[in-house]
């Protein structure tokens, strides 16, 4: 196991090296005049340094004076030390801004994740038990509609119905207008209220996959020999499902859920942007559209790390949950 882990970690580092190089190369596709424009723009801010100094600083911090390889080496040597530079849009160190906003994303994605699990697993099991019944069709159609819904459309629909027509929620933002005047509990509730629509959106578009996954795996388990044996023994249907079948579908489900956990930190870019929840997704979207190279580089590398972590966790969990799997 230890050997496996070390090998995978080393491999991940190599992959990360290439991924960050590709991302850096794409960022370098931005025209060089872009940095000049950026420096000019920044120099016009109140209390900013003069243009020449800023231009030098920006070019320097991104190794833009050399070729791609030199520039990348420079970025990498800083990144390894945990220095991702100062964000151009937010005028503070990238990591600091990241720490500020990440928890909004995590809260939103986390709540939605819990709802997904609560909704998807029971419904998936139910539809597998009653395959080809009306319930199964209903659940399947519901799941597929969820998968087929574009995030921006469901989000807009929800806003249209609940914010505009019914006026229950604010259109945008994480806090209401009176947030500052509220007592601490009220502030938390206020934020919770603003998270309702984003969480619903996120749940609706994500729940389908987990539901289908549960159903497929449950069907496979239900068709296996040991379930037939259990039934043949004369066990009650509840016992067959709850003890024999459920435990076995836990293997793929735990693996999947485990590998999903890192992505909870990645933020939901579209949902956050549409509801203007100041999480990592929205902040990154703003940074991306405004060409904030330091933040973008950091965010993309961060997402790559999360993806790698997800696969690693899935492999490890698979080995832990299912003793038949030999990691080597």
């Amino acid at each position: 196991m230890k050997k496996f882990l070390i090998r995978r970690l080393l491999l991940s580092i190599v992959i990360l090296f290439f991924v960050s190089f590709i991302i850096y190369s794409i960022e370098r596709c931005l025209p060089t005049s872009y940095v000049e424009g950026k420096a000019r723009q920044m120099s016009q801010k109140a209390g900013a340094k003069p243009y020449d100094e800023l231009l030098e600083q920006l070019t320097n911090s991104y190794g833009l004076e050399g070729n791609i390889l030199q520039g990348y080496a420079k970025w990498l040597s800083n990144a390894v030390k945990g220095e991702f530079g100062d964000s151009w849009v937010w005028s503070k160190p990238v990591t600091e801004k990241f720490k500020e906003v990440i928890w909004y994303s995590f809260a939103m994605s986390g709540i939605s994740f819990v709802f997904q699990v609560i909704i998807a697993i029971p419904l998936g099991i139910l539809s597998a038990r009653k395959q080809y019944s009306r319930t199964d069709y209903a659940v399947t159609v519901f799941a597929l509609i969820g998968i087929s819904l574009p995030t921006f459309f469901i989000a807009t629909l929800l806003k249209w119905v609940f914010s505009i027509n019914l006026g229950w929620f604010d259109l945008y933002g994480i806090v209401g207008r009176m947030h500052e005047q509220l007592p601490p509990i009220g502030q938390v509730l206020d934020m919770g209220k603003h998270l309702i629509l984003p969480v619903v959106t996120l749940t609706v578009v994500s729940v389908g996959n987990l539901m289908r996954y549960t159903r497929t795996n449950m069907l496979e388990v239900l068709n296996s020999d040991y379930i037939r044996t259990a039934r043949a023994k004369g066990l009650s249907e509840n016992k067959v499902i709850n003890y024999h079948a459920f435990r076995n579908i836990l293997i793929p489900i735990v693996t999947l859920l485990g590998s999903t956990i890192p992505t909870l930190f990645g933020g939901a870019m579209i949902t956050e942007t549409l509801f203007q929840i100041p999480g990592i997704g929205y902040i990154s979207y703003m940074s991306l559209t405004q060409g904030d190279v330091p933040f973008t580089m950091f965010y993309m590398v961060f997402l790559a790390i999360l993806t790698l972590a997800g696969t690693l966790i899935a492999d490890i969990l698979y080995a832990i949950v299912d003793p038949r799997v030999r990691v080597n």
């Binding site: 395959q131 509609i145 579209i270 790559a304």
Partner: protein
Amino acid sequence: MGADNNMQDKDDQIDLNQNQSDHVSTSGTLDDEQRVKVLSPGMLVAKRFFRNKLAMVGLVILVTMFLFSFVGGMLTPYGESEVFRKKDVILKDYAMMSENKDFLYTNEEGKDFPSIAGAKMILAVNNGNSTFEAKDVTYSLIKEDENLYQITQLTPVANVLTLKGKSSFTSAEEGGTVSNAVKSGYEAAVSEGADNFEADGIFYYIVKEGKQSAISIMDRTALASKKVFSAAGGAELSYDFKLNAEKAFNHQLSSFEADGNTYEMEVEESTGFISLNGEDYAIMSSYAVRPVGSEALSLQFIRAVQEAVLGDEGSVEYTGKDGSSIHYKIEMKGNEFKIRSEQKTQLNDDFASPGNTHLLGTDGHGMDVLTRLMYGGRISLMIGFVAIAIETLLGIIIGGVAGYFGKWMDTILMRIVDVVICIPAMPLYIIVGSIMDYYQIDPRVRIYLLCAILGLINWPPIARMVRGQILSFREQEFMTATEATGIRVSRRIFKHLIPNVIPNLIVIATMGLGEIIIMEATLSFLGIGVKFPYASWGNIINSVNDVFVMTNYWFVWIPAGFLILITVLGFNFVGDGLRDAFDPKMKR
């Protein structure tokens, strides 16, 4: 589901048997109908697929969407970016009419009346003086009426000293003489108490200061009046004309003479309509009608407005030179009248409600929403198909090579797959989108680039699947056989291995199509995908970024979102049905 499907297959066989028992065989030999029907594997798949209700619903949806997008686009009478215009009545300020309270000056030909003198004149009028000075020139005022003054410039000709009833004249000029006519005229005027007299056709003015008085020539300089004159064709009216017109107006005369012509005058309250030989020539009024724009007003229009205001009518219909009749509304605001034209202007027919001409209304550019949806469907579906073709091709080649050759080739290719999978797709699209924005890439080229990028990012899962399948097939007997018969490697891969992967590929590609369509729509929604003037379902919905549109014009964005949902749902239904059909045991 495997067990049930097997059961269904058994049901089929029972059905077949029943058919057979229904058939009464007379000969006892084995004919076509007595033979047990064996379906080819392909037919079995098709049969299972067509029995799946959801898959059929999906198929119907997809066929409808294709017809809607590709045939509908041909049938629709409108073009993809045809802008509809509408005529709308716009109230536009056209002219103002207000009472004139200031003196207007008409200069005698060749004379100059500076504005400073005008100010002095008003002062003199207010103080009741009959002379005033400005810029070393003395003017005299001749009051004709309350609001009508003749202003004359005085040039001193003689000084008169009157002592004991006897006047002695001295010329103002050095060594000049004063004519007898002037002398006698002066005497006559003084005896009558007048302050001016005429002599030899020249008017003289007398200024008295105690025993001394000064005689000056009166030179008509300007006419000050509060009446506003407007002449046909904007012509300048002469001093003489105005003076005579005013006099006629004040005395309610029906005609007057000026500049050798005889003019008719028709007086209505404070307005006089002057005509020459039966044709409108000028209007004098205490109301000024001024255009709001730069366009000069015609006399007929002014007359019509004046008459309407005098008649207390709220509107006026006026037929212009081009023969078009325009309706004007007259609104009173304070002391002013606003004449507003009800002009029919061509406007973009934006956000027109659904109706007979536009079944789903028009969007913010005045384009037909339904037509845009059809063309948008073409682009969305086309992007989906091209992108999925690219990614499938890449997936097959890379996955196939990795799976077949194994060893170091497999390791390298699979690491490449790992790397590409790790690149965050959405941020990448946004960066590439903004790079394309920066270089201002042509919208058409952009669509192709979008297909390419979507294809280049999404191939790794397909490659993984293909590799996995080929790894398992490689060990099977039929592959050993191909090796034994010495078939070329490329043929072994593409003729014998890939066809076995096809079922799974079709399923993945069908489901993937839906994902690509959603991705494209999302990018277009964010404004970095398909750009105007091309339509795509995503960029049609883009208009909801304006909350006003979202609130008020549901027909612009809901249909597009609904179409995306339905189409992707169709692909997912069909993909799901295909998976079940291809793999009745459903191992994956």
